[in-house]
């Protein structure tokens, strides 16, 4: 046997098969699986979005802002993935908010507003019970908190608010300003940016607003190059 064994076609074939099977099952399959998992979460999130007329695609757009911000901030890949899922699922608690309240034109009564606010808590409670999603519960619960403590549900302040929630808050606000909702018309990009600047330090974490504006600038540059 000796050296001839290590050079034999049988050995080379076996080594190739091992390598191939290894790559397939350790690299390709997990990749595929994570993709379809992401797709499934997104689909469920979209099903909820249809309830809130005008919100279609909101989660997906916010997710793309948030991932870009996270990359800008050099967060680890695992955190980025978590943030993306949190962005998809941030408004999942809306399943318990009646259609009539979500799409009401004009002012909500105090009671109706309380119900609307409950979507943060409900959404967090839902994901908290699921092992794989437990981590993102605080982000979902806190995505309507404000930097100065004027948000809901817990009135947290500054860095008491989870980083992911602070990021979601900025991206969500910007995306909502650009889209038309039952309760108000659409705003222009310039106006939205001005509003973000004005609210930086009161509504939103100023550092995060900076990051977000950088991401927007980068996007503009990329678009400029493309056209």
């Amino acid at each position: 046997m000796g050296t001839s064994f290590w050079l034999s076609p049988a050995f080379i074939l076996a080594a190739a098969v091992t390598l191939g099977a290894g790559c397939y099952s350790y690299i390709y399959l997990p990749y595929q699986m994570r993709r379809s998992y992401r797709q499934s979460l997104l689909t469920l999130a979209r099903a909820v979005e249809t309830k809130d007329v005008g919100a279609e695609g909101h989660g997906e757009r916010v997710a793309s802002y948030v991932t870009e911000m996270a990359k800008e901030m050099k967060l680890p890949a695992k955190e980025i993935r978590k943030l993306e899922y949190a962005a998809f699922l941030q408004d999942i608690g809306n399943v318990r908010v009646p259609h009539a309240i979500l799409n009401k034109r004009g002012r909500l009564t105090k009671q109706e507003f309380e119900i609307l606010k409950s979507h943060t808590v409900v959404g967090a409670e839902m994901v908290e019970q699921i092992t794989f999603l437990r981590d993102i519960a605080p982000v979902i619960r806190q995505h309507h908190e404000c930097w100065d403590g004027s948000g809901y549900p817990d009135g947290l302040k500054g860095e008491e608010i989870a980083l992911g929630a602070r990021m979601l808050a900025v991206a969500t606000a910007y995306d909502s300003m650009l889209s038309r909702r039952a309760y108000r018309g659409r705003k222009g990009e310039e106006q939205a940016i001005a509003e973000l600047r004005a609210g930086s330090g009161t509504k939103w974490d100023p550092a995060i607003v900076e990051v977000f504006l950088k991401v927007l600038k980068k996007r503009h540059k990329a678009q400029g190059r493309a056209s």
């Binding site: 997990p30 699986m33 499934s40 689909t43 469920l44 399943v95 009646p98």
Partner: protein
């Protein structure tokens, strides 16, 4: 019969095979999305047969199966189960090898023995017969034992195994021959050549299927929570899932269907997520527009589920859970045979639970007063053939009769 009894260093070789077979049997690979497990056991047994003949094969395999049965028994099994399980495995591998070898001889396979110059070409076909007969015997024995033990129909145990026989045959036969060949040429190193790729694949597949079921569970659970727009839904979904599962088992549906039946029950109304609950819960007369919206939910649910790879099999079931055999259902107006049986199972389970409601007051639907158990059963019987699949209704009655016999309500 085939060969001389092993002598001298051959005993050491046989010991090597003993450990090999034990190890292969200990570490099965479960294929994702199925209940099937594959092992390198049968290729190893075939390799042993080719090299040492029938007596040595039985001599090594029976103790190897005995050992691995004891080693792999599930924790918490009573001692009697362990004994009968081990005895069955040991006896069945002996019977399988014996019948396989007999068939091999009848098919013109020559006995292997040292000194006789048999080329692989001479025995390649008889070896296929060996594999075929061995695995058929195994299927028959396991299915019979399983159905006797569990008190379930034979078909339910046999069908999924028979379905796996062909791919199994196509793997075991060449793998076994290759096994023997490599051993012949390279000795023990040749065996390692076969085992290493297998172990790598095994480990990876195992991890994959674990992760996949975790993901699937996550998605299903999230889907269930999303349907809880109303307090009654939770209990309803769980009861429908359990009842559908029982009916499907009673009917002896394919393993794959059984595996997904609970998910289907839990997610059958996912198409209602995002629909205005003002319509879903409306008291009083629904307008045509309301109906049109409500009738969209099976198709919408199927659309949602079609995006989720883990739940692919249940897409047509969910789409069809409001179809009727007389063609008056929605969304496609399918008739009798065109409706997937699993969808018909969901329809009966869903209708029954909607009619009776749960034990709690809050589980009741707003728009009707619940029927008693007998009234609901009468309704199903009355609708058999028009609204419901009669086969499913029959199985449902049997499930109910069983429950009553067990002293439940």
């Amino acid at each position: 019969m085939f060969s001389n009894p092993p002598q001298g260093s051959a005993w050491l070789e046989l010991l090597g095979f003993f450990f090999l077979i034990c190890a292969s049997d200990w570490f099965p690979v479960s294929l994702p999305g199925t209940i099937t497990e594959i092992t390198m056991t049968m290729p190893a047994v075939l390799g042993l047969f080719i090299i040492h003949g029938v007596w040595a094969t039985i001599l090594v395999s029976a103790p190897a199966f005995f050992t691995s049965s004891i080693a792999t028994h599930r924790r918490g099994w009573p001692i009697r189960t362990l004994i009968s399980h081990t005895a069955f495995n040991t006896a069945s591998i002996t019977v399988c090898i014996a019948t396989g070898s007999l068939a091999y001889m009848l098919a013109g396979g020559l006995p292997f023995s040292a000194g006789m110059n048999i080329t692989y070409a001479d025995v390649i076909l008889p070896l296929m017969i060996w594999v075929f007969v061995t695995s058929s015997t195994d299927t028959i024995l396991v299915a019979t034992a399983g159905s006797l033990y569990m008190g379930e129909p034979w078909r339910m145990h046999a069908v999924p195994r028979i379905r796996w026989m062909i791919p199994n045959l196509l793997v075991t036969w060449p793998a076994g021959v290759l096994f023997a060949y490599l051993y012949d040429v390279y000795g023990i190193q040749g065996i390692i050549l076969m085992i290493v790729p297998f172990m790598v694949g095994r480990k990876a597949l195992d991890q994959y299927s674990k992760q996949m079921s975790a993901y699937r569970e996550t998605i299903t659970t999230l889907g269930v929570y999303m349907q809880h727009y109303h307090p009654y839904t939770k209990g309803h979904l769980e009861r429908v899932a359990n009842l559908a599962d029982k009916i499907a088992k009673q009917m002896g549906l394919a393993m794959r269907s059984l595996e997904f039946m609970k998910d289907a029950g839990l997610l059958h109304d996912i198409g209602k997520v995002g629909v205005d609950e003002g319509i879903l819960d409306k008291v009083g007369q629904l307008t045509d527009e309301d109906w049109a919206i409500i009738k969209q939910h099976p198709a919408r649910g199927a659309e949602i589920l079609a995006q989720m790879k883990y739940l692919e099999p249940i897409v047509p079931w969910v789409r069809g859970h409001h179809e009727r055999p007389d063609g008056k259902g929605y969304p496609d107006g399918l008739k009798d045979g065109a409706i997937p049986l699993e969808a018909a199972v969901l329809a009966v389970a869903d209708a029954f639970d909607a009619m009776t409601g749960g034990p709690d007051e809050k589980d009741r639907r707003v728009y009707r007063t619940p029927l008693t158990l007998d009234q609901a059963i009468d309704q199903l019987r009355y609708g058999a053939g028009t609204q419901f699949d009669p086969r499913v209704v029959k199985a449902f009655m049997q499930v109910m009769a069983k429950q009553e016999a067990e002293g439940g309500n």
